[in-house]
Amino acid sequence: MNIQPPNSSSIKSRFAVKFVQAMKRLSKRRGMGDRYKRYRATRAAARVSLAAAVGPERAWSRAVLRRIKKRRGLIGRTTTNPRRNLRGLVPGGKGMDYCSLLSETAHYITCLQAQVQVMQDMLHLSSP
């Protein structure tokens, strides 16, 4: 019935590679000093790298990738904006029925956990 739960280590490695690539590209850019632009770009890169690592097989990753292609407000999303509603938190959660929302949430949580671990590792490695 459900699609299988994500393989944590494969997502971690895929996300890590993509994210590091994005960060490298970011650091080479001239427009980025020590500003909040870089913070926002990093945040966006993290979000997109995770979605790209997951691929199009999940509704939430498809929603994120769709938002890039539309060139809409991808970066404008903050965590304080969506209120106490699960639909507002999970990307693409507005157009889903409740059942799939729950399964997407489960997958999304595992992916977020993987992402957090990878980014922590990166931090520890870069500044020991």
Partner: protein, 392 residues
């Protein structure tokens, strides 16, 4: 006479039917609320055919075919009401015992010979007998009650009703079983509110919403709408259990609303954590260009080995906060008091600054596009490190 003959014939399917739910008691999606009702005179042959078909296949998948008959619903309703009223005297006597033992009534006695006829049923019956043997006292009392001043049809109806109830019980999830049995003892009928109140009194932490529909099951089980509803509800509860395993600290919380709150909190905290880490990475980044390449190799090799236990992820979050507070964040000046207010204030400050920049940089979208494209081209991860090297 015809009635007695019918009784004898009905004894076979009755007995087998009674023994059947036991192997499938663990199957939660299995329901046959109406299979007990087959002994109406009109649907006699139909019922027997179904039962025999069931037994031949002896698989739960065959059962729902019975439920398709809408007539079963009303009959089940009628019989269950019947059975509940006449049952109360009986159910009160063995309060703690399992009701299936009761309902098996005199069946193991009725026909030992018919039991040999059917092939599919011996294993369930074997399981049946020890249980019935334990309740032999109740059996004797109950069986005496049956012939006492009642017609064969009534007794049959009562048996079927009791069995219908018990099967219905077993068809629910195990924790609902206890509530159903308890509520059954306390004078239940089709009245949903009464039963709902009973259940909520007996088990307050359980969400009452599920039980309302469980009670409605017996009356309207064959309705396609309620079937779909029930399937949907089971799906939802299944996924909530999955989520409960994922979110740390959710085991103590019961009830959908509280769990949803916990889940929302957890997702929000994870997202905030990602934001925080990305801010840190952004501030660290310009110094460590060389280190990033080192990161890549180390990441791809070390990540599968490093497994932080998931439980520590949320306390690690707070520890990380404290570490961050102790380090000097040149972008923010915040007193380190408490992790959560720090996070909130950080969020507010960052967002405030972010809003000052009217347009977000357009180049990042090209970046993002390239990230996506790279994913689709190089799907196998391990080779990417060598590719990266070439790009550098």
């Amino acid at each position: 006479m015809d009635k007695q003959h019918y009784l004898m014939n009905a004894g076979i399917p009755l007995q087998i039917e009674a023994s059947m739910p036991i192997p499938w008691s663990s199957d939660q999606s299995f329901f046959n609320p109406n299979s007990s009702v087959d002994h109406h005179f009109d649907s006699d042959a139909f019922a027997l055919r179904h039962l025999i078909g069931k037994l031949d296949r002896s698989s739960p998948a065959a059962l729902p075919s019975l439920a398709a008959d809408p007539g079963f619903a009303e009959r089940a309703a009628k019989f269950s009401c019947f059975g509940s009223r006449s049952f109360n005297g009986r159910t009160s006597s063995p309060p703690g015992s399992a009701t299936p033992g009761q309902s098996m009534v005199a069946l193991p006695r009725v026909a030992s010979s018919p039991s040999l006829k059917l092939n599919g049923s011996p294993p369930p019956r074997n399981r049946k007998l020890p249980g019935s043997g334990a309740n032999s006292n109740e059996e004797s009392s109950v069986s005496e009650q049956i012939p006492s001043g009642e017609t064969g049809s009534n007794s049959r109806k009562r048996k079927s009703a009791s069995r219908g109830k018990n099967k219905d019980h077993r068809s629910n999830s195990p924790k609902e079983d206890e509530n159903l049995k308890r509520s059954k003892q306390t004078e239940n009928c089709e009245n949903e509110q009464e039963c709902n109140e009973n259940k909520t009194n007996q088990k307050p932490p359980e969400p009452p919403k599920d039980y309302i529909h469980v009670r409605a099951r017996r009356g309207q089980a064959t309705d396609s709408h309620s079937l779909a509803e029930r399937v949907r509800r089971e799906k939802i509860s299944e996924r909530m259990k999955l989520l409960q395993d994922l979110v740390p600290g959710c085991n103590k919380v019961t009830g959908k609303a509280l769990m949803l709150d916990e889940i929302i909190n957890y997702v929000q905290s994870l997202q905030r954590q990602v934001e925080f880490l990305s801010m840190k990475l952004a501030s660290v980044n310009p110094d460590m260009e060389n280190l990033l390449s080192k990161d890549m190799y180390q990441q791809s090799t070390s990540l599968p080995q490093q497994m932080y236990p998931l439980d520590s992820s949320s306390p690690a979050y707070y520890h990380h906060h404290q570490n961050v507070q102790q380090q000097q964040l040149h972008s923010t000046n915040i007193s380190s008091v408490d992790p959560l207010p720090l996070d909130a204030s950080l969020g507010i400050q960052i967002d405030g600054f972010a809003q000052n920049l009217p347009q977000f940089p357009a180049f990042t979208e090209d970046d993002l596009h390239s990230i996506v494209q790279m994913g689709f081209i190089h799907n196998t991860v391990q080779n990417q490190t060598s590719n990266m090297k070439v790009e550098l």
